[in-house]
Symmetry: C2
Subunit: 340 residues, 2 copies
């Protein structure tokens, strides 16, 4: 008797597995779903049959009866590609997709339509997904906050304004990340530490300024000058130039992103200011920009891929009705290279 007898044509079904193992399909189902009430010998027989037939449960059937789509959406801004010089999204997506693949959830990418913002909301509320991860730009966040009691959601960034209702966010502690970098500068004996901040209308921009400021205060140092950029290399170069033009005597710069640090480094080089001898530069982000900068950047690793994984993990907990804290912090760590 070959196992072929149990699969006529297409994919094997529960029925076929049951026939091979000599049990009902209800029992097979129980074994597959780990319902501990099955006799060990039946468990073994079923598992053997599953392996022999290479049985894979039909997602649609399971999803239909469980009333779960088994899908989660990752919502990302439409203009991502234009800003893809920023490796952030790629890393989060990669981390999230990898984690999702170890569960029976499917991760789908939902690109926000700038032309039709309602489309995304309709999709999310139309029962297409069990939950959503929101990585939109901060300006879009409030609109999603409203949906968060219709469909489970986890945000990748804290809203600027305190949300009107309890929400769940997974992010690094940006205050702490900036403080880590700044403290390292202090520990290396720097005393006049400027910052090139991110945009001050973003949570990350604000929080990193606060981290820089508080680390300085803790060390009994005055806050150095602050110039803001937009997280891009060009904006970092311009901010560095303004810092120099303003004539303040500084011996270190904390840049709120590796991209801005890269731009700053170019300006310093153009002025023959030696890094780290004359001015040390520390930043946040451990990515392509940090390693290929000249000199390579001492920076804070935000572990963005891990953030992607934790986002999914947290969302699944929420979907399962577990109690999830409003904020889950992803750990960060200093990585020392040659710019400090």
């Amino acid at each position: 008797m070959t196992s072929d007898e149990f699969v006529e044509g297409g994919k094997p079904t529960l029925e076929a597995v049951g026939a091979l193992a000599g049990v009902s399909r209800a029992t097979v189902s129980r074994v597959i779903n780990g319902h501990a009430t099955v006799k060990p010998e039946m468990v073994d027989a079923v598992n053997a049959a599953v392996a022999q037939l290479r049985y894979v449960p039909n997602r649609a059937a399971r999803s239909l009866v469980r009333r779960r789509t088994q899908m989660i959406a990752m919502v990302i801004p439409e203009r991502t590609a234009e800003f893809f010089a920023d490796p952030y999204f790629a890393e989060v997506i990669q981390g999230a997709a990898l984690y999702a693949s170890s569960t029976d959830q499917t991760l789908t990418l939902l690109i926000e339509s700038d032309a039709d913002p309602e489309k995304t909301r309709r999709y999310l509320t139309g029962g297409n997904v069990d939950g959503a991860l929101i990585l939109s730009h901060h300006s879009r966040v409030p609109a999603y906050v409203e949906l968060s009691d219709t469909v489970p959601m986890v945000f990748g960034v804290r809203p600027l304004e305190p949300a009107e209702r309890p929400i769940h966010v997974v992010d690094v502690d940006n205050v702490e990340a900036a403080a880590i970098a700044t403290r390292h500068l202090v520990a290396r004996g720097r005393t006049s530490i400027a910052t090139i901040s991110g945009p001050l209308d973003t949570a990350a921009g604000i929080d990193r300024v606060n981290g820089w400021r508080s680390a300085l205060a803790d060390a009994g140092l005055d806050a150095g000058p602050l110039e803001s950029g937009t997280f891009t290399p060009a904006s970092g170069a311009e901010a560095m130039q303004r810092l120099l033009d303003n004539g303040a005597r500084i011996d270190a710069v904390f840049a709120a992103s590796a991209q801005m640090a890269t731009g700053a480094l170019e300006v310093l080089r153009a002025h023959s200011i030696r890094v780290p001898y004359d001015i040390a530069v520390a930043s946040v982000d451990n990515n392509y920009f940090s390693t290929s900068a000249n000199p390579p950047l001492t920076t804070v690793d935000l572990d963005t891929a891990n953030k992607g994984a934790v986002l999914v993990q947290t969302l699944l907990r929420l979907i399962d009705g577990e109690d999830v804290p409003p904020f889950t912090a992803v750990p960060t760590a200093l990585v020392e290279r040659r710019s400090v």
Copy 2:
């Protein structure tokens, strides 16, 4: 009588829509699926009921009976994030996701596991998806070619060796793209045109060299010197340096990627060689690197987002059993900036 009477609790079903419209659920199903055999007045009644109840078909139920998962996978290399300085994947994904969202297919990202390559194959052959888009590195392609008669597949790159069985690829015509750039250099009066090629073990690398060579031959010009890079800025800089070191008199360079062109430009600047006055530089890729180069690059736009869309479109045709040509070319176009 309010429409609430037809939806007790959860999402409205076909049954509820039928009750509101005064028809059977079979008829509602026919209207929703556009089976032209329904009387116009019933069509209207059904559509009104659908709108009123905001009815959205249950994907799982539909998928179960149609024996289609309604999902397609995009297979991408695990190490993507590390190379994400290359905007290519982000753009393809964006184009593909956007197109998929206009259909009732869901696009899911499948990251190849370097540790367990079988995992991806099992997923694809386990009935999880209706088809797959393969964007892997070239070395992985042959393994997928084997699967292409088990599950419909479209490749984003032509295999290096002619495939053992008929496959479907969607890509730009790399020979033509390179020829466009080179012809433009020729039209501008350049006569000694070198190339910084991509890796010569990739289809894009090889094809772009051939395009450069044939454009030159067509113009009655000798092929200039060739140095190879790996598509990265650093490799472009090194190749440019070798070109200079070798002392050949050249008045133009065709770089097979914008990233390599960026690196080459830096070397030329360091040598005070003026672009385009002394040496003109044309490239391929219209992305962040092309616009932020100094000077901005005259280059061939590969319309990568559109490639993503066409990949999905082609795969859906294949899944529907249509006749699809083995190669679908995505159009390219020259964009003139200041490097030529």
